[in-house]
């Protein structure tokens, strides 16, 4: 017998993982920023979080591989050396919903965080720093997602 789970694991391509169409469910948490996670663009996501128009800045950095062997797991990091950061964000431009993570930082940690995200295809990724003074700064990087395995 073939289980549903096996079938899924095997048939789901990364593109399938992030197939367009679809919606996010209602949050179990009142504070979870639904509108931001529904956003399709960087500007809309930032706006939904109450930020102004984002400006590219070399004071913000995004780290990640140039090539991801698998889009299911792409290591990304966001950092800035600027003081007065309220939030750091990670976004993937060509995902159906661009926003991946919001980090509400405090003075007790360094403004340098890493996680791993899914990417449906090659795309720009963004690190965004939302500052206490209302400024929104970002950095971009292109990551190529390759096709792997036997394709089955």
């Amino acid at each position: 017998m073939q289980t549903r789970r096996e079938m899924l694991a095997r048939s789901a391509t990364v593109a399938g993982l992030l197939a367009a169409a679809g919606f996010l469910p209602t949050s179990a948490l009142a504070a979870w920023p639904q509108a931001a996670f529904d956003a399709k663009t960087l500007a809309d996501a930032v706006k939904a979080l109450g930020g102004s128009a984002p400006v590219e800045s070399k004071d913000v950095s995004i780290t990640g591989p140039d090539i991801a062997e698998n889009g299911a797991v792409v290591p990304l990091g966001c950092a800035t050396t600027l003081p007065g950061v309220k939030r750091l964000l990670l976004l993937v431009e060509k995902n159906p919903n661009v926003l991946a993570a919001v980090f509400n930082v405090t003075d007790a940690i360094e403004t340098n965080l890493s996680t791993r995200t899914k990417m449906g295809q090659s795309s720009n990724v963004f690190a965004v720093a939302m500052m206490g003074d209302g400024k929104v700064l970002y950095a971009a990087k292109e990551i190529k997602v390759t096709l792997g395995g036997c394709g089955g």
Partner: protein
Amino acid sequence: MKKLRLLAGGTLAAALLAGCATGPSPAEMDAKANQLIKSSFRDQGIAKTDRLAQDLGQSACSSDKAPDDATADKIMAEALFTVKWPAGGQFIGDWRTGERLAQDGRGMTWTDNSTDPKSNGGNCYNCHQIDKKEISYGTIGPSLWNYGKNRGITDPAAPATAPIVQYTWVKLWNSKAYSACSNMPRFGHKGLLDEQQLRDIMALLLDPKSPVNQ
């Protein structure tokens, strides 16, 4: 001292000989392995245990030694005999569809639902470089970048190109026609791809407009 060591050596050799004498012969091992292989598998979906039954090309190419020349010749001759030429002598299809097939590695596993060639891919990029823009390609087979261009194909329909066009068709239909133990699947012979799909892959390789030949 030296004698003692010799004696010990002799005993060991005798023991080894005795061990060999009681162990199975290579032929017995082959038979036993075949039986154990067959009993280890079961049907699952479209992948039935009859897939373990070997034809000559499979059984003769199932060890780390190549088959003898006579066997290899027989495999190649039989393979060539199986080739069906495309209807109406039409060898070339659409390279765009060919590229999609080349990218697609699916089909014929126990998690696939149908054995219809329409549900299969060509698996080409798993083993070959083809369009140079695709960086994720395998190296089990040779690079096919500029396949047609390198062979001077400017018009695949021109009579002068017939030998190369036909060679390529045979290679795709039954690769064992040119190499008895080729690693390449027999796409036409085993019904993995249909005639139109093969034409499309032919176009990917031979059409001067295909990105492969830029």
